[in-house]
């Protein structure tokens, strides 16, 4: 049996760990609330945008906007959205699994330090890496998105896909590959969005007026849309990160508490054994002297 001093030392260190994980859990919980509310606040906006796109879609001929053109896919463009810090359970590992499944040639852009490190370690073709803060602003996401859209239009990459942890609820985040560009057909894209946000169907089927004209509105709406859409994905990834971290830290804290109980019991046993031993020795000594 370990000596009481060793056990005491372990108890102390486990207590420290528990304190830290508890603090991290609380921090993650408050950040999670913020991130979730941001993700929810963006919803009516995304919904309305989907509606507008839906209204526009049947009235413009497809494949005349460069973002709509479907090309032969030679090189995929992947935007990998990960966290900057670890300690968030299997969140990043699940994303990396999706990346390792990609066997066709692809170029990568990373958001988040963990993703950058992973891509560098696995020697994949990284075009750029970005980091965004916890309270992610629209302008922070704009830079990587516009960078990728530019490459897409130049023909360096033939698709833009986002790998990110989708926020389902606090306990479940699923790693997903979400194709963004080309917006093969606007209709597909819109129905896809509607599934995500549950927007209202556009009922009015009278002729619609466009100002200045349909193509101009489409040309303005699409790039704007791509920016917004990816922003929404990143926001969702942030909410996932904080939730995953909170859950991981809660598990760690619970484990520490359990371990602490076991160690305390062991410590008490060891202490009692020591006392019994001493009494025996004293008794034996008094017997032999009398």
């Amino acid at each position: 049996m370990a000596s009481t001093r060793d056990i005491r030392r372990r108890i102390k260190s486990v207590k420290n760990t528990r304190q830290i994980t508890k603090a991290m859990e609380l921090v993650a919980a408050s950040k999670m609330k913020k991130a979730q509310s941001v993700a929810l606040a963006g919803r009516p906006y995304a919904q309305l945008m989907a509606d507008m796109l839906a209204a526009l879609a049947p009235r413009v001929s497809e494949a005349q906007h460069p973002l709509l053109v479907q090309r032969e896919v030679k090189v995929r463009g992947i935007l990998l959205v990960t966290t900057d810090k670890g300690l968030c359970g299997p969140l990043n590992a699940n994303l990396f699994k999706l990346v390792t499944e990609i066997k066709t040639p692809a170029k990568y852009v990373a958001i988040g330090r963990k993703g950058t490190q992973f891509l560098a370690r696995t020697k994949r073709d990284v075009l750029a890496d970005f980091t965004v803060s916890d309270r992610v602003g629209f302008n922070e996401v704009k830079a990587p998105v516009e960078f990728m859209v530019k490459l897409f239009l130049e023909g360096t990459i033939d698709t833009v896909e986002v790998i990110y942890p989708r926020f389902k609820n606090t306990l479940i985040q699923e790693a997903l590959v979400r194709p963004v560009l080309p917006l093969t057909t606007v209709k597909d894209f819109v129905s896809h969005l509607r599934a995500d946000y549950g927007g209202v169907q556009f009922k009015d089927d009278r002729d619609m007026l466009f100002e200045p004209d349909a193509d101009a509105v489409l040309a303005a709406l699409l790039p704007f849309y791509v920016n917004r859409y990816i922003y929404q994905l990143v926001v969702s990834a942030k909410a996932s990160e904080q939730s995953a971290r909170m859950v991981a830290m809660k598990t760690a804290k619970d484990n520490a508490t359990k371990l602490l109980g076991d160690l305390t019991l062991e410590y008490n046993k060891a202490r009692q054994a020591g006392i019994t031993q001493e009494i025996l020795e004293i008794a034996a000594a008094s017997f032999s002297s009398s």
Partner: protein, 135 residues
């Protein structure tokens, strides 16, 4: 037949009410919407948006975006929007000055940063114009 007007920005739903009419600034000039308007999708420009309800007119400052009209619904999708009462004149002025100074200070700025600052200056200008129109 009242119109319903919704103004949505990425941060929140800024305005949602039934109204009598609305005047929206678009890239091709102002456009007035009354109930029963033909379906319309248009690009919204920086400017003031006038809402008339029960004889009184409210003013809002909006930055660029899109507006969709169908029969009895008007929905505006804007990057920023703020009602007149909420505009803090001093804060806006200070923000505008800061942005302008930054614009002047750096010659070879990142074009995106430049664009962002410029739109901030324009939005600030619009907010001030809306706030000061009564004087």
């Amino acid at each position: 037949m009242p119109l319903t007007l919704e103004i949505v920005t990425p941060e929140a739903k800024v305005y949602s009410d039934t109204i009598d009419s609305v005047v929206i600034p678009t890239v091709e000039g102002e456009i007035g919407i009354l109930p029963g308007h033909i379906p319309l999708l248009t690009q919204v420009a920086f400017g003031e948006l006038r809402v008339t309800k029960g004889g009184t007119t409210h003013f809002l400052a909006v930055s660029g975006g899109f507006a969709q009209v169908d029969d009895l619904n008007v929905r505006v999708l804007a990057e920023h929007a703020i009602t007149e009462e909420k505009i803090d004149e001093n804060a806006v002025e200070a923000a505008m000055k800061r942005a302008e100074q930054e614009l002047k200070a750096s010659k070879d700025m990142d074009p995106q940063q430049y664009e962002h600052l410029q739109s901030m200056v324009r939005y600030s200008g619009v907010q001030l114009a809306v706030k000061r129109r009564k004087r």
